[in-house]
């Protein structure tokens, strides 16, 4: 009995050490962002004279407020489009009979297996030819249709009874109405999953904005923070850099604290990341 107890204690010790390794850097980050200049470099969690000085400097030096709004808009528009296009295509693939349905399905699956490196430059050249470089559209349109979302919606719709659709048609409901008014309320878990994945994916995306946006006014927050960090502008101002990281992380972290279960379920259900 005693051996079992020692084992249990050891297990909790190991887990706690592991948990601290994952949490400590974030707590330190928040502490450091509030610290006065000479204290930022230290590793203590709580500064002696906390203040918002770093955040003030940050708002003065870089258009971070603007980029926050940009990031929010991009994430909201991308997520909405992904859900609309995904459910429309998914519905057609799941519940409608037409020639070439299977072929279209396989083509969509195939595009998922392609690494993004293959399409990166061609997509950029398309953006140039459409004159979309340095516009808001360049950040949204390439992500407006997601093969993954289509497959998730298709699967969710396949699980719903045909009678639901037939009854709605008898009542004179249009196909669009069927998707969004009749079927959507029945697949809430799928909606939550796709919304979370697509929002987080869009919020954290950094390579694509670095490629298509040069105008500082249009930059997303991860992009602006990256350029600020590598551009040498932040060298003397560690506190400001940390403050920028805090502002970038905080919305996602807060959402995660409230909806932990949904976040984890969504991501685990797919095995996808980023």
């Amino acid at each position: 009995m005693r051996r079992i107890r020692i084992k249990k204690v050891l297990m909790y010790v190991a887990l706690t050490v592991a948990a601290l390794t994952f949490i400590y850097p974030f707590i330190w980050m928040i502490g450091a962002s509030l610290a006065p200049r000479h204290e930022v470099g230290t590793m203590t969690i709580w500064p002696t004279h906390p203040g918002l000085e770093n955040f003030k400097t940050m708002f003065e030096k870089i258009p971070i407020g603007r980029s926050l709004i940009n990031s929010l808009l991009v994430a909201i528009f991308t997520t909405s489009l992904v859900m609309i296009t995904g459910s429309m295509v998914g519905y057609a693939l799941a519940k409608m009979q037409f020639k070439g349905r299977q072929l279209i399905f396989y083509v969509i699956v195939f595009t998922m297996s392609l690494p993004f490196q293959i399409t990166l430059i061609p997509n950029y050249i398309t953006m140039i030819n459409l004159h979309l470089v340095d516009t808001f559209f360049a950040l949204v349109i390439p992500f407006a249709v997601s093969a993954f979302a289509i497959l998730m919606f298709r699967q969710a719709f396949q699980g719903l009874p045909q009678a639901l659709i037939d009854a709605a048609r008898l009542d004179g409901c249009t196909e669009i109405g069927i998707i969004f008014k009749i079927l959507w309320p029945n697949i809430k878990p799928t909606l939550v999953t796709i919304a979370i994945l697509s929002f987080i994916g869009s919020w954290n995306e950094v390579l694509w904005p670095l490629i298509v946006i040069r105008n500082e006014e249009l930059m997303t927050m991860p992009q602006l923070v990256t350029l600020f960090s590598v551009g040498g502008r932040a060298d003397s101002q560690l506190g400001v850099k940390i403050a920028a990281a805090v502002l970038l992380a905080l919305p996602v972290m807060i959402a995660f604290l409230f909806f932990q279960k949904h976040f984890i379920q969504s991501m685990a259900s797919t095995g996808m990341k980023d």
């Binding site: 887990l15 948990a19 950029y124």
Partner: protein, 242 residues
Amino acid sequence: MKFIGVDNYSRLFQDRLFWKAIGNTLKFLLLHIPLQLVVSLFLAYLLNQKIRAISFFRGSFFMPVIVSGVVVTILWQQLLGYDFGLINRMLMALGFSKIGWLVDPDVAIYSIAVMATWKNVGLYVILFLVGLQTVPTQYYEAAKMEGATKWQQFYHITLPMINPTVFMVVILSTIGGFSLFIEPYIMTGGGPLNTTLSAVLYIYKQSFQYYNMGYSATLGFFYAIMIMTVVILQKKFIEKEV
């Protein structure tokens, strides 16, 4: 557009820096994948032992997964700094000498591999946890009756049962590892001596610093084919093992 045939490909095969970038990425994967497997399986195994406060532990492991790679990189830059980094300070306090985590050409890419593992491991903990929970408890009870040790149980029951998860984790961390970009871009810019120049970072530099769009597209295409080949080979190999 002008068709220039295979010129870009012959250039690719002679491009030393590209092959160096591929080599760096492979070195990265060589540490990243096994580390990811071992750490995530270990943590999932602990979480599966009827632990209290499981959602706290799970949540803390998961935190870096959802946060932007930019944030994680900025944080680790502070941890790995040569003069004032936390890790070197701890080493000094314990009487060891400092290590050039990001400035030593022999070390830098492995530091980045550890950081990337830290960022992603939480996701794989969850995947393994789901896998572990599907193993029927009768199997363990039967094994215990036969006098099997914990280690034997793990090796002969758990591991074969969660093989699909192992496979998924290997594939996902391979694909994720091949897209290594933002970490070296922010932390080292590819240095020291191009030892952390990842393939994607090189492709990015070719197009947006040297403006060789066509060549860069060739690199991207070639690299993508390479990734798919590696993933297919992994799949074949693992399926044969089962």
